[in-house]
Symmetry: none
């Protein structure tokens, strides 16, 4: 899927871009409205992530222009917590969903996937890895033929690993999807969650790459 990210904060923007890219989507990141307009005129995006805090305050205009031109590309807007009026106006102007800053990157991923799925009409596919079957959209895991129940954190780790399946995922990356942006942790929490996942999904589900990270087979 091709995503257009319109966000002027380059730290947050980078994090969002990486997270979406990690989900296997292509991302173009524009920091200014005029750049974004140009891109939208020339590329067929399948999703737009639009920050309504842009300093020139013309994000809403962009959205309205899009809809006026009968462009129905799904748009998710992001606003600050207090900008309720802006958010409502955004929804009235044709946005499909919204996120309130600060948001968990995993929450953002979920919304992006949900909107994309709705628009494409594809049911979320189950991913099979050995005897484990995973439905990311429905948050369901089946081991052998029995469903496994995961906790929130366990799910976050699993999701990260599965989205990158085949690749080696570092502890730092897993930590990032566990503790959204900011809160640091001083313990071996990642190891603990890997251990818990192995207990629930089978010892061989995750393999350890010493000094590098973890990996699930492709």
């Amino acid at each position: 899927m091709r995503v257009l990210l319109i966000e002027d904060d380059y730290v947050l923007g980078g994090a969002i871009r990486d997270h979406i890219a990690a989900s296997g989507h292509g991302v173009d990141w524009m920091k200014r409205i005029d750049e974004a307009k140009l891109a939208l005129a020339n590329v067929a995006y399948e999703l737009v992530l639009l920050d309504l805090n842009l300093p020139d305050g013309r994000g809403l205009d962009l959205l309205r222009e899009l809809r006026a031109a009968l462009n129905r590309v799904p748009v998710i807007i992001t606003t600050a917590q207090d900008q309720i009026a802006v958010r409502i106006e955004g929804l009235n102007s044709g946005a499909d969903d919204y996120l309130v800053k600060p948001f968990d990157l995993s929450e953002m991923s979920a919304r992006v996937s949900a909107v994309a799925r709705r628009y494409a009409g594809n049911p979320s596919p189950a991913i099979s890895i050995g005897p484990v079957s995973i439905d990311l959209g429905r948050k369901i895991v089946i081991v052998g033929d029995k469903p496994a129940t995961l906790t929130g954190r366990e799910w976050a780790v699993l999701e990260r690993l599965v989205r990158h399946r085949g690749a080696i995922v570092t502890k730092g990356e897993i930590e990032d999807s566990l503790y959204a942006f900011g809160a640091e942790i001083e313990s071996n929490a990642v190891e603990v969650y890997i251990s818990r996942l192995r207990k629930k999904l089978g010892r061989d589900f995750v393999s350890t790459a010493r000094g590098l990270g973890y990996q699930v087979e492709a």
Copy 2:
């Protein structure tokens, strides 16, 4: 079954048409109201899917004209999230069901089939989950062998859970079906309604996935 689809977005329209055709129904797709009127005057459709976002805003008129002419063909309307007033007016004008954009195409298929069944005089099938039997079409719930009476909000929560049965549904998603999209809520209302549902339908009807959401068995 012969379906008339009235939708001006040609991407979405194509997707809907393909999906309905895949269910074995015949579809005629009109992008303008006047075309649709002509078609309705000349073809006996068994279902109409009507987009109320049409730029000329005359979808409602079409519906009213149909009903004024005593044409009882089942009509499902589609509206944007924020168009609550339009949706209500549509239902008051004689629509049989509605879908809020963006919607799951599979959900749309389900509604189309449901309407088709009702129209054909077949009873809508009850969904059985443990000792609970649910008829989404008629809004009837039976526990054991006694009917249960649910309030509006309770029903909204139940419907969301049952339509996605098997999947874990987040609180945010439930909230979206309880309140006008984008409305904020500052309480544990979702928890309260889950609690009420459990009291009426049995404690085990809904299971909690801590930190993730709720789930009814498939």
